[in-house]
């Protein structure tokens, strides 16, 4: 191992301060720190530090995404073959077809996004933040499988440049970058982001495919052809990563067990959505209102959104109380948008983006409670003194 370390140190020589490639140091450091935790020691404050760092945190999220990703790849193949080829295929064939479709999307997403991140790090002279490791995987997972790669690339560039770097980079963004990429694609290329031809790969090549999402067909007043179990397990058309609630639950378990994702947001989000759906069930005027509350939770992007998007700590509420309110409102708005606006069956995306804008306001009121308490205490002590 000493050999490898020496070799890396040798490669890094020209990137040191005062040397030729000094400016590009963030790029080479980003690669090096993926191999080794650097030898930096504490200079100020506490002399010892926790093992956790941003890299570890972000990789934990990526790990949590893996079950949903693997299922998504499989389902991409499954939907393709049952809808278009109509024949039984082996697991390997299904998975390979999915991989053939999904892998290029992941590669494009990482290449474009990390390219921009590296460029900004070099330009601004700071280290590369690990945030995009998660965003880069999330973005393809919330897209339809047939989205052209160039559109994906533009959506990624928009999310990273306008959504993140324009605000000052990682930790400063107001919106969840991955959702912003999806919203951008959704409004810029609507024909590739909604409808009945896009959720199954190659569906546009033939006629007569029932490749709609469940929410899409409900919005048009059609019957749902899938059982709740299908919806829960994920054998339904939809964005790549969103279909299997089971796989997402495994991810949620990883996030909650490691403490990386906020259980407060997830739980309050589910409660908010369930209550709202129950309320609509009671009214029951349209097909969407009548859609069972349990099905609401397992269908569409709700589970994926609440587990992986709403819990993004940067764009979510940051106070403990704030997180609960934030989650509840996301649940509420997700179902509300689904039910009342058939043009946007995927309510969770818009609900989270809306709550991203409101999160600082929620925190403001929570923190103000603390400030008010402090001011009251001060007033009381002054009163006592003068008395």
């Amino acid at each position: 191992m000493k050999f490898l370390r020496d070799k890396i140190d040798q490669i890094k020589k020209p990137f040191e301060k005062g040397r030729k490639f000094e400016k590009f140091a963030p790029a080479i450091n980003a690669l090096d720190t993926f191999l080794y935790v650097p030898n930096h020691t504490t200079k100020h404050g506490a002399h010892i530090r926790d093992a956790v760092d941003l890299k570890r945190t972000m990789i934990t999220v990526v790990l949590a995404l893996v079950p949903a990703l693997l299922f998504g790849i499989y389902n991409a193949g499954y939907q393709h073959f049952i809808q278009i080829e109509g024949s039984d295929m082996s697991f390997g064939n299904l998975f390979f077809h999915g991989l053939w479709k999904v892998l290029p999307m992941i590669i494009v997403s990482y290449a474009v996004g990390l390219g921009i991140e590296f460029a900004f790090a070099i330009f601004r002279g700071h280290e590369v933040n690990e945030g995009y490791l998660v965003s880069g995987l999330l973005i393809p997972m919330v897209m339809p499988v047939d989205l052209p790669l160039w559109m994906l690339a533009i959506a990624v560039a928009f999310a990273v440049v306008i959504g993140k770097e324009a605000f000052g980079g990682t930790g400063m963004n107001i919106f969840n970058p991955a959702l912003l990429a999806r919203a951008f694609a959704f409004f810029a290329y609507p024909t590739f982001m909604s409808g009945d031809k896009i959720w199954v790969s190659d569906a546009s090549t033939i006629d007569g495919v029932s490749g709609e999402t469940i929410l899409g067909s409900l919005a048009q007043g059609k019957e749902v052809a899938y059982s709740t179990m299908d919806m829960f397990l994920g054998f339904i058309p939809g964005s790549i990563g969103e279909t299997s609630t089971l796989a997402i639950l495994i991810g949620a378990f990883i996030l909650i067990a490691t403490g990386v994702g906020s259980w407060k947001i997830m739980v309050s989000g589910v409660i908010g959505a369930a209550l709202t759906a129950l309320m609509f069930n009671a009214v029951g005027l349209t097909a969407l209102m009548n859609f069972d509350w349990m099905n609401h939770l397992v269908v569409g992007g709700f589970a994926f959104g609440i587990v992986f998007m709403a819990t993004d700590p940067v764009s979510a509420a940051q106070t403990d109380k704030g997180k609960i309110i934030y989650g509840l409102l996301i649940g509420f708005f997700s179902i509300l948008i689904r039910v009342f606006n058939p043009a946007y069956p995927e309510g969770v995306m818009l609900a989270i983006l809306l709550m991203n804008t409101l999160a600082p306001t929620i925190d403001y009121f929570v923190v103000n409670g603390n400030i008010a308490k402090r001011k009251k205490r001060l007033a009381k002590s002054k009163q006592l003194k003068s008395a």
């Binding site: 191999l35 941003l54 001011k375």
Partner: protein
């Protein structure tokens, strides 16, 4: 009246190298040092010159901003050197010690017979005043103030910190006299916080409001106790003294001598036999640590691992230090150490490591940063180790922005850097929280006073 203090938020770091309950003497150092940097915010005005002879307890400099606050020699001897740094800032005053101390003799006094002004004057003249610190700002108390209350924490919860109960076992008489003296200085109460579990040796101390403390570190931090007992409002002043210093003050009244000897715990994974030593403050680190440590790539800390100051082998013990910790330096690379659940030997308070599955395990941490500084991303982790009614992340952000109004609103007066030490330790972004708070407090001193 007493009020129990129960704390849930926090973190007890279990480290290797806890001190055995044994005390040994340390050979007398040839040279002792007084470091003005131990007294935050004090600009020294020298009274002595190089070559002067001083007695133990003789004034060597005073504070430029408050001339009544004097600093004295811990031993008798000759001023060997006044070391200066950039812009002639005084770094340390080195005193070549006599083989035996000759003390400045003050008269023996019973604080109960003295007025507030007389106690104050005695503490100022004898060099004991610097033991009294004030909140807000965590600096030496202003001698013109009358504090709302005085707080003493006799329960150290910091990792490997010296056990107060053991150290003061035989000094209870002096401790009581010290308490009596301090009681004269405040219009309010003297609050003494002791360990909640088991029987405390301080249970019979008189003239104090006693509090039993339960919970993980930072339960023993005096700032946390103040926040639970009587939080500081804007404009108020409270004073804090550490228990060993109370005993030194008491000894001054009992014997008429300023005796800078204290019992220091030498601890840490790199110490061969961790135990206690009687040593005069300012002693050479070499005499305390030399020959007692295992490795050579080590960091010696005057204080505990969370809040102490780095000292070199040829350096000296700090003025307030009750603990000296020796841990390995972490200037090494760790392959794939950032992977979740990798490196089980490195503790993590988060559940991305395996530490939470092994709550009893003791660790030997090194000084590696275990990552690089990053933007603030993760939320909620700071709150988990902050038992005060404070929003730590919001306060730190206000401090970074130097937004004085907001800092005031969010409780800057209630905190000291040490209260943010665990945030230094646990935060994912490797933010230097203690440093940020210290700079913010300095700004407040300048702007608000």
């Amino acid at each position: 009246m007493s009020k129990d203090i129960r704390i849930k938020k926090g973190l007890d770091l279990k480290l290797k190298g806890e001190a055995a309950h044994k005390v040994a003497q340390v050979t007398r150092s040839k040279v002792y040092a007084v470091k003005p940097s131990d007294f935050h915010g004090v600009t020294p005005k020298m009274v002595v010159k190089e070559g002067d002879n001083v007695k133990a307890g003789e004034v060597i400099f005073f504070s430029k901003s408050d001339e009544k606050v004097k600093f004295v020699a811990p031993v008798s001897g000759k001023i060997q050197e006044i070391k200066r740094g950039e812009k002639r800032v005084i770094l340390e005053i080195l005193i070549a010690a006599d083989s035996q101390d000759v003390f400045v003799e003050h008269s023996k006094k019973n604080p109960n017979d003295l007025s507030t002004e007389e106690v104050k004057a005695h503490l100022l003249a004898s060099g004991c005043w610097p033991f009294i610190n004030q909140r807000p700002y965590d600096v030496i108390a202003n001698s013109a103030d009358t504090p709302k209350a005085i707080f003493i924490s006799a329960y150290a919860t910091a990792p490997l910190a010296a056990d107060v109960e053991f150290v003061l076992e035989n000094k209870l008489e002096a401790f009581q006299v010290g308490i009596d003296a301090l009681a004269k200085l405040t219009s309010g109460k003297v609050h003494l916080s002791v360990k909640g579990k088991g029987k405390s040796i301080f249970k019979d101390v008189k003239g104090v409001s006693m509090h039993q403390v339960y919970g993980p570190h930072p339960a023993g931090n005096v700032g946390v106790q103040i926040a639970k007992i009587s939080p500081i409002n804007a404009g108020e002043r409270v004073w804090t003294v550490t228990p060993q210093d109370v005993a030194i003050i008491g000894e001054l009244f009992l014997t008429g001598k300023y005796n800078a000897t204290r019992t220091v715990a030498l601890v840490g994974s790199e110490v061969k036999e961790a135990q206690y030593y009687n040593v005069i403050s300012g002693a050479a680190i070499e005499d305390l640590v030399g020959g007692k440590i295992a490795g050579d790539n080590v960091r010696i800390i005057s204080g505990d691992v969370l809040t102490g100051a780095k000292v070199k082998m040829d350096g000296n013990l700090g003025f307030y230090s009750n603990t000296v910790t020796v841990i390995p330096e972490g200037n090494t690379y760790r392959m794939f150490g950032w992977m979740p659940f990798a490196s089980p030997s490195v503790h993590s308070a988060s559940r991305t490591g395996l530490s939470w599955l092994m709550p009893g395990k003791k660790y030997a941490p090194n000084t590696n940063l275990n990552g690089e500084e990053r933007a603030l991303v993760v939320t909620g982790e700071m709150e988990a180790v902050m038992p005060m009614d404070i929003f730590p992340m919001q306060l730190l952000k206000a401090c970074l922005a130097s937004d004085i109004d907001k800092m005031e609103n969010l409780g800057i007066y209630e905190v000291a850097p040490e209260d943010f030490a665990l945030i230094d330790y646990t935060n994912t972004s490797k933010l230097e929280a203690q440093q940020i708070i210290r700079e913010a407090l300095d700004l407040m001193i300048k702007e608000v006073g």
